[in-house]
Symmetry: C2
């Protein structure tokens, strides 16, 4: 290995040490840390973020990366690592350090305020933080050479190559294909999912979560499951990937599907090639690619009938009373029930992209100035009325439901829908190589994981999403795979073609 | 406030940020982190420890401290803060940074190995780490100007002012006064504590722990309870003090008393004066002083009859079957049962100092070279035979029972006995101001906490133990308070004076 690369690796070790400290402290803050400690903690985490910022935007590192980017002796993988690192670093270098540290402190405080606001159903607690975050995000754009592109800058941060123009096209197809189907379903007889609202003790739900995680072969030696207000996956390193969920005493399926969703994310980070695990591409996987894997697990696999062949009976043993009159078919039909509902994370597959569309339109409006920031909560409600025909009675089910804006993650939401779209194409390609239903029925989940690892996961963020999709499926991304899948699946479930 | 002090505070903010990161990562590693991640984690934590070492031993900081130590405009409290900080810093500055980082990495790895060894009852897994730690501790002495004092150096680290000469005298009184009492008790009829070995489900024990913590007014806004292999208290900052315990399905009292013990520690850190909370004296409380507060809660209060006046019935409601034939008196007698047993943390008050004596004698022997390091496990067993007349069947109940040597905490153990001694004197002084039994009976635990805060806790580590004892009790430390208390209490319980 050449000298500069060795120096680069040593430098990256230091960066990774700071990242691990901050990542661990952040996980701790979200899971166990007492509320009273947040002021002291956030001040110090912001300071350490500043130290990391200094290290990761230094002239020394820039010099190394430039040298490596011109080094023709590097192989393609190494050149890619350098390319993505250099690209991201250049963007960060434009931000003044003081601004960066102030922003880090703000989002940590905002997160505390958001959690309190959600628990107390009071948007006013969170509002000043949200407005300040928006102000700073706009300020951030003024530092960037391409800042005049506005929201497109943030879209590219989360999904390299994506723009408003492309998302507009994507969502326009979604609306065209799905809205009529949803409309028809609303006129049909509804699926009975009343069993889901029975009482499910949380310790029993935890037992079920563990059972499901074992079935999908979650790597417990190198990962854990915890509880948080908002479920997430936290990949600290290949050998420490953490997933969280939220349990509700009166919902069986909420935690089931968030656990499976997060395990889809975790599986990506667990399955990266060893020689890439400690490089830049461990953690630069695009959000759309990452969501494609979580949504693939959650929907394409876990909402299919055969996924439950080996789980349904054990689940009934955990909840014998609650599920005594429920068959596997009834259960699977129920978890596919289409319903215009308020909470994105509990939404069915078909209406889900409309939840995303609402957020996407709001974010666009926030950054092009067409939305009155004083009315964000009302606009949220109006859009739910417009697209889903319902209105939240509580802010915790309206604008406060998601953690993302408290993190300043503008540009992230659209990747959920896009990732669901990618997943459709991955599943179609996988079906050419594997009988997926058979794998599930035979308790051979590992075969599915092996396919995903070989085609996608092993590379981490080595390839652009557009390249990765071709590598895995042989075709560029085509969102019709997604809409076709949804229309076919739900037409069948609700007998829409039978008239 | 003068300029140098302001600069010093700013500098201390940076140090506290690194300490918080490492403290949080360490807590995470002990509680939730997956085993697979330890290699990656420990390498990086050791690196960050090195960064902290550089910061906290810098010439810049030394210059500031020297300047402040000569600044006559500072008040007594500030001068003390500077004095203790300077003293500790000088000791650290003699250690080469590379050595420091290597040692930090070693103890983290050793901790992982110890936990595995204990779980698998195999001392051989831990032995090479222990020997390496001992080697490095001896090496460390060679760097220090007073290193030729050997083990005395480490004793002073944990309890400023203490030496082998003083501990020898202390333990000699212990042996003289307590061994004859233990001998007599062994000939008496034993107290029945069989209910303790019934089945106590862990989730119910957790419920009980919370109940007890509420009774003793644990500050849940600024602290948490977690589960670990070895119970400990982790004071990250005044507003984030964490305690842990270990639950055994077939012991009710083990977790009860370790929870109360750790809450005694936590209460100390929670109760420091606000203007001292972010200074050096938050975390430099001597081990003996700290143990005095944990042992005071655990033994002097929680093993007394009236402590249970407001807890015994609620506890019976949690374990109605297991405790149905047990009265409050039987319960309190049982938790005071004297028994020569193997595990220090479960030992009764009377035999407890003998457990400490064994460790103290071993540590002395390790550092004066009179012990064959190849035979540490056997010597452990021989000493248990000698002092307590029993021998561990499993290494996990022998040399592997305690976490401390895996941390390299040589010199710590004796402070447990010393702290118990201090506690006797504190309780005697408290009794002059308060009717302790009355406070417990009336559910006025807060009065006890107030007394401790006013006399001790508010100061943190501002005073030397010898000074602090005089401040709180008006007298220098007299270990007869301890032996008198034990002899009187146990003579009464076992009717030794009735013959």
């Amino acid at each position: 290995m050449n000298e500069t690369w060795k120096k680069y690796e040593e430098y990256m070790f230091k960066i990774s040490a700071y990242e691990l400290m901050l990542g661990t402290a952040s996980f701790d803050a979200h899971t166990v840390a007492p509320k009273g400690g947040s002021e002291y903690r956030n001040e110090r985490m912001a300071y350490i973020s500043g130290e990391l910022y200094t290290l990761s935007t230094s002239d020394e590192l820039l010099q190394m990366l430039k040298e490596l980017s011109e080094d023709e002796s590097l192989d393609d993988d190494h050149r890619r690592i350098v390319r993505w690192h250099l690209k991201d670093m250049m963007r960060d270098r434009y931000i003044p350090k003081d601004f960066f540290v102030e922003y880090e402190k703000l989002v940590m405080d905002a997160n505390v305020a958001w959690e309190k606001a959600k628990n107390e159903n009071d948007y006013q607690i969170f509002k000043p933080y949200l407005l300040k975050i928006i102000e700073m995000k706009k300020q951030q754009l003024t530092y960037l050479p391409d800042g005049d592109k506005g929201y497109d800058v943030f879209l590219d941060d989360y999904e390299p190559g994506m723009t408003m123009a492309k998302y507009d096209e994507f969502f326009s197809l979604i609306k065209e294909k799905l809205v009529p189907v949803i409309k028809k379903i609303r006129e049909r007889e509804q699926i009975d999912d009343s069993f889901n609202y029975d009482y499910y003790p949380i310790d029993k739900q935890k037992e079920l979560a563990e059972l499901i995680m074992k079935y999908i072969d979650f790597d417990f030696d190198n990962g854990i499951l915890s509880t948080t207000e908002h479920p997430f996956t936290h990949p600290l390193q290949k050998h420490d990937v953490r997933v969280t969920t939220h349990y509700y005493e009166h919902s069986l399926v909420s935690s089931i599907f968030s656990v499976i969703h997060e395990c889809g994310h975790a599986n990506y980070n667990h399955s990266i090639r060893d020689d890439l695990a400690e490089t830049y591409v461990f953690d630069n996987i695009s959000s759309g690619m990452h969501e494609s894997q979580s949504r693939l697990f959650e929907n394409y696999l876990a909402r299919s009938y055969h996924f439950w062949d080996n789980l349904f009976e054990p689940m009934k043993q955990i909840f014998p009373e609650q599920l005594k009159n429920v068959t596997q078919k009834q259960f699977v039909d129920a978890v596919n029930k289409v319903e215009c509902s308020l909470v994105r994370t509990d939404a069915d597959e078909l209406t889900y992209p409309l939840h995303i569309l609402i957020r996407y339109e709001m974010e666009k409006g926030i950054f092009d100035g067409t939305i009155d920031l004083e009315r964000l909560d009302e606009i949220w409600d109006e859009k739910y009325q417009e697209y889903l025909g319902i209105k939240a009675e509580k802010a915790s089910q309206g604008i406060l439901q998601d953690v993302h804006w408290s993190d300043g993650s503008f540009g992230y939401f659209p990747t959920y829908a896009l990732g669901s779209g990618y997943a459709a194409q991955f599943v179609k390609a996988m079906s050419r190589d594997l009988d997926i239903d058979q794998c599930l029925a035979n308790n051979e989940f590992k075969k599915i994981k092996d396919w995903l690892r070989e085609k996608i996961h092993q590379y981490g963020g080595l390839y652009l999403p557009s390249e990765q999709i071709v590598i895995a499926t042989g075709q560029p991304f085509d969102p019709h795979n997604y809409t076709d899948y949804l229309v076919e699946k739900y037409s069948k479930l609700y007998g829409l073609n039978e008239e």
